[in-house]
């Protein structure tokens, strides 16, 4: 009974629609996330990638459409089985270690258990030396690693990451990707917004290409590069940036 062990999967959404000031920001007929592996979400800036993940996670309510996690609308009780590393992770005004402890307590561990586990989580992320540093003054790479470690600490079944490596140095990128691949190998279902296609190839099993609020393609990684299904995807792969029509 997979449904009992993974209460947030399958994630299924239908007819998602968001419009602001007459502009369609999101228009997705259907999307289903289940099974295992890593889905990479790509597309030009402003395509609606971040918005889609926020809607799927229940952080934003769409104008229209339904989202279900294992058959039921997202509810906060199940957030302990769902992780989301936001594009700009928010660290609480306390140490790196306390941030992890806080996250562990939030998903239901008692104080002593949180205190026992937090250093292990930091260790796994290679952040032990920064345990007592203020989380908000960490470098970009350290903070992303901490954010990822904090999300992984709860042991979610489904993990979203919004451009976790944009503006990081190559070593930090590798460290983050290694953590993601490990989690994926351990069976965590992952959806990651990638800001470059090389990363998509490195970590992804499946790719979703978004363009102007729509899912233009949702195919296995190999296929996307061998035979892109739309002119937009072809242009995107060729590195021709797609500027939204109204900005041309």
């Amino acid at each position: 009974m997979q449904s009992n062990t993974r209460p947030v999967l399958p994630l299924i959404a239908k007819g998602l629609f968001v419009r602001r000031k007459g502009r369609v920001l999101l228009d997705v007929d259907s999307i289903a996330i289940d099974g295992s592996g890593t889905t990479v979400l790509v597309g030009p800036n402003g395509a609606g990638k971040s918005l889609l993940l926020k809607v799927l996670s229940g952080l934003r309510v769409p104008d229209k459409g339904q989202i279900s996690w294992n058959g039921l609308a997202p509810d906060r009780q199940r957030y302990c089985r769902f992780g989301f590393v936001l594009q700009n992770p928010v660290m609480l005004r306390r140490s790196a270690l306390s941030n992890v402890e806080y996250a562990l307590r939030a998903v239901g561990h008692d104080k002593s258990e949180a205190k026992r586990r937090a250093p292990i989580v930091l260790e796994e992320a290679g952040l032990t030396s920064l345990a007592s540093a203020s989380a908000r003054v960490l470098s970009g790479g350290e903070m992303q690693r901490l954010a990822l470690a904090r999300a992984l600490a709860a042991g979610p079944d489904l993990l979203f990451l919004d451009e976790p490596t944009s503006s990081l140095d190559p070593a930090s990128v590798l460290a983050i990707e290694a953590m993601v691949k490990n989690a994926s190998r351990d069976g965590m279902r992952i959806v990651l917004i990638a800001h470059d296609l090389a990363q998509a190839k490195r970590v992804g099993d499946e790719i979703i290409f978004m363009h102007r609020g729509k899912i233009a393609e949702n195919v296995p990684m190999e296929q996307f590069f061998k035979q892109p299904g739309t002119p937009e995807a072809e242009a995107f792969i060729a590195g021709k940036i797609l500027v939204p029509k109204e900005q041309q």
Binding site: K54, S57, G58, L59, R76, Q77, R78, Y79, C80, F82, G83, F84, L86, P89, V90, L92, R93, R94, Y102, A103, A106, V107, S134, A135, R136, V137
Partner: protein
């Protein structure tokens, strides 16, 4: 000039000699204003917190009103509280007029908008930043608010200091509802007003010195709070 110099000398002697009459007045001032700030915090913080995280029709108008009330003229507040507490007033039967309690009530009314408005701003800014992350932790609205209050603790403490500064320095409200009765409702500001008009400059100046020291202390504390906040990477 000779007189002024002598008054100054006497004033310093009163302060440095811990003159009992002066201490009594200072102590009552602190007691009244601190109590007012505590009561105002109990009322104002929840109002500010509620306004910060809720969305309902009319919210904007309430926020503008509360913010505008930060500038309530103390004499007008004193007058209104006087009318409420006087024998003919709604609260007349409580017989509170010309008591320290009346002064606390008046100062509380002056300080509540300050605490509510500043706390609202602090907590709303924090909430914009933290909302998504705290939701992802699966926290209910009460637990989220508790985290916001803790994260904003330094700013909120500064808010309380601002409220205390306003309360301890105002004269208009307490003189009307307290009546400036010797040994009963005489606080620093009202005594300064009275003694100056009577020509007893020494006591007035002595209390003035204490009041200035208190004001400086409040600002120094606010500064230290900021420093502590920055040390904990609050910014």
């Amino acid at each position: 000039m000779q007189d002024f110099a002598a008054s100054f000398l006497e004033a310093f002697q009163l302060v440095l000699g811990f003159n009992s009459g002066l201490l009594e007045i200072v102590w009552l001032s602190l007691k009244v204003s601190m109590t007012a700030v505590v009561v105002a915090a109990i009322i104002g913080l929840p109002i500010g917190a509620f306004l910060a995280v809720s969305r309902f029709p009319g919210r904007g108008i309430i926020i503008v009103t509360v913010t505008a009330m930060m500038g309530l003229p103390p004499v007008v507040v004193g007058l209104v509280v006087y009318l409420l507490l006087s024998n003919a007033g709604v609260l007349g039967p409580l017989q509170l007029l010309y008591t320290p309690t009346a002064m606390i009530i008046a100062q509380t009314i002056l300080v509540v908008p300050i605490i509510a408005a500043l706390a609202r701003q602090t907590l709303e800014d924090l909430n914009v930043e933290y909302r998504d992350q705290l939701k992802l932790f699966g926290l209910g609205s009460f637990a989220r608010l508790r985290t916001l209050l803790w994260e904003g603790r330094y700013s909120l403490m500064t808010t309380l200091l601002a409220g205390f500064g306003r309360a301890v320095a105002e004269v208009g409200a307490v003189i009307i509802v307290g009546g400036n009765i010797n040994h009963v409702t005489r606080v620093m500001t009202t005594t300064i007003a009275l003694e100056t008009s009577k020509g007893n400059l020494a006591l007035a100046l002595g209390l003035g010195i204490v009041l200035v020291v208190i004001a400086f202390t409040i600002n120094a504390l606010a500064f230290l709070l900021r420093a502590a906040a920055e040390r904990s990477a609050y910014v």
